[in-house]
Symmetry: C2
Subunit: 340 residues, 2 copies
DNA sequence: ATTTAGCACTCAAGTAAATCGAGTGCTAAC
DNA sequence: GTTAGCACTCGATTTACTTGAGTGCTAAAT
């Protein structure tokens, strides 16, 4: 186990490295107020810490930098919760006192705040739609040939899609059909919409002329569309600010990874609540070897959970990030709770 | 005026530099099949071309690179229209045979194609909304406290916004009001919506109870919202691929410039049709000194014009870009023509 | 038994000089 | 007018040297 003194030294090394991005030497440690012993002593302790795998050297005579194990230990045991600065608190609070009523807007804004306040890249995963139910279906004819189908869910989400109206189908035909569909489909989870549509179509077709068939085919095409869980990325170019990404090749491969929406979504999708950190190798993607990913969940309604995440170098300001993510996820959750 | 031989040499220099990004020397020029004379002759001609300002040296004993004047001349007089490769044609055609009915979708896809096919950054300016008229207003109550206002325009554009419903206002009150508003506002240009709302509200308020006032205040807040012309950016990180942007500071300032939406929009907004190129200094922004911006217009309906643009280094594959932009803007225009 | 001062050693980073080579301009011959 | 030839230029690359922050180890001090 680590002695008090070793803990102190490890803490100093990591704190220092997080702010300067430079290896930390024994002398600079011993000069810290909290450190009362000499640099030689520090060197001895550092040798032990290195042997235990918490820190490492970049070359044989360099200062020390935290290893991934070091960061892990730091995050698990050494993290002193940081009070956010007044300006940070203000920015967040102001953003959320604006009356926001749309899910997308809240998410976008949150992603923006997160990346602006951190200089890292924020990634927000929209909540799963399993539980989202159809609230209303609407058709707005634009002209003879086209109309717009609008679908509103109980979560206030609006999907819309224009489609062609075959000439044989009159506006009133469409209207009737929509009324019927509305009556039968209201409250149906979106995820079942497709099959329900098939079930319902039988009855409809029997009861009505074949105009319906045609119109329905179009309408169905308009409505039933894969709707992948959406990923919102903020401050993508912040990565360029980080000294560890001076190398453009790294940046490129990282971008390539982030942009694989479905894989990123899988990575972020989390079952557990609370904040989770993945440090370096703990991330599944090669391009993220030098990155840490902090994820936190927010709730929309009762059982829909989305995730907000921050991607930065392993040398991340973990304590500030924790506070930020905490505050933000709470704000998001409570904003959403106000709605449903 | 330039001799045939000078034209040939200029052409070779620019073509070469565009593909290699390296200064072009006399020997490599004289080795080209089309060039029958010696490197010494080429050197003499190059000296003349340099004196005329079409090419320049990076240092006293380097090969030549095109000057901005050189690019300008190249674009104006030397450009050989390039046939797009089969795969390019296929990609574009396939993208547009997908039945797309939504403006946003088309624009997004176009921006994506453009940046994918070019490794430059694509910027698309949505058309002005001056002429867009209100088609229909819709209110979908979600629950006791909130509802969604949906606004559909004659161009098929859908705006929606959730808003709080004051407890005193019943769903049927809202419904009535929407009916009235629909009756009075249909066909009103969006840009006049705000004042029309004020005009109409007088009559409404007189005719009805004060519940309307409250509901109306909310509804108005929900509907009348600045709707800046939208800018779609694709392949923002492609810039990193270009050797001229090895320097991160340049990249950062370029990003900063691109992200100033309103200024970029002003820059792109063009009165004339056709393709236009701004080379280097011809661009108004400092950060774009080493960039060229190619813009082309597309039409949505009769008099709504939007712009697609490509931003890359001055060393751009102009001929391929011209072909691409041409094809794409035609595809976009004709797709939209199908709708209205 | 710790702690610390002292010292030899290491190695990345910075600097200066040396070399290389692609390219030029000019001159003189073709 | 064209071209071969040659001296010259200058960025890029290589090599050698210096610097300095930092280490590990030993021996003395506490």
């Amino acid at each position: 186990m680590l002695t008090e003194r070793q803990l102190l030294i490890l803490q100093v090394i990591i704190d220092d490295f997080i702010t300067t991005a430079q290896p930390v030497g024994s002398r600079s440690i011993s000069k810290k107020d909290a450190v009362t012993f000499s640099s030689a002593t520090v060197r001895n302790e550092m040798a032990d810490l290195e042997e235990m795998g918490f820190i490492e050297k970049t070359h044989s005579s360099s200062g020390r930098i935290p290893s991934e194990k070091g960061y892990r230990f730091y995050v698990d045991h050494l993290l002193s919760p940081l009070r956010l600065s007044d300006s940070e608190v203000t920015i967040i609070r102001d953003a959320f006192t604006d009356k926001m009523m749309e899910f997308e807007q809240v998410v976008q804004k949150s992603a923006g705040i997160l990346s602006d306040l951190t200089n890292y890249t924020s990634i927000i995963l929209g909540p799963e739609v399993f539980e989202t139910k159809l609230k209303q279906l609407q058709i707005v004819p634009l002209n003879d040939q086209s109309a717009i189908a609008i679908l509103v869910t109980n979560t206030g989400h609006v999907e819309h899609r224009a489609f062609n109206v075959p000439v044989e189908v009159s506006t009133s035909d469409l209207e009737k059909m929509v009324n019927i569909l509305n009556a039968r489909l209201r409250g149906v989870p979106l995820i079942q919409l497709h099959e329900k549509l098939y079930e319902e179509i039988g009855g409809l077709l029997k009861a009505h002329t074949d105009q319906y068939e045609k119109a329905f085919a179009y309408l169905r095409a308009a409505l039933v569309e894969e709707q992948p869980t959406k990923l919102y990325i903020g401050g993508k170019t912040n990565i360029l600010m980080q000294p560890e990404f001076r190398d453009l090749d790294k940046v490129r491969s990282l971008y390539a990874t982030i942009e694989k929406e479905s894989e990123m979504a899988d990575l972020l999708r989390s079952d557990d609540e609370g904040i989770r950190v993945r440090i370096g190798q703990e991330n599944p993607f090669d391009a993220m070897q030098n990155c840490s990913l902090i994820t936190a969940s927010y709730r929309l309604g009762n059982d829909q959970i989305g995730t907000i995440a921050l991607l930065g170098p392993t040398r991340m300001e973990y304590n500030r990030m924790f506070s930020l993510m905490n505050v933000l996820s709470k704000h998001m959750t409570s904003t959403f709770r106000g709605w449903y």
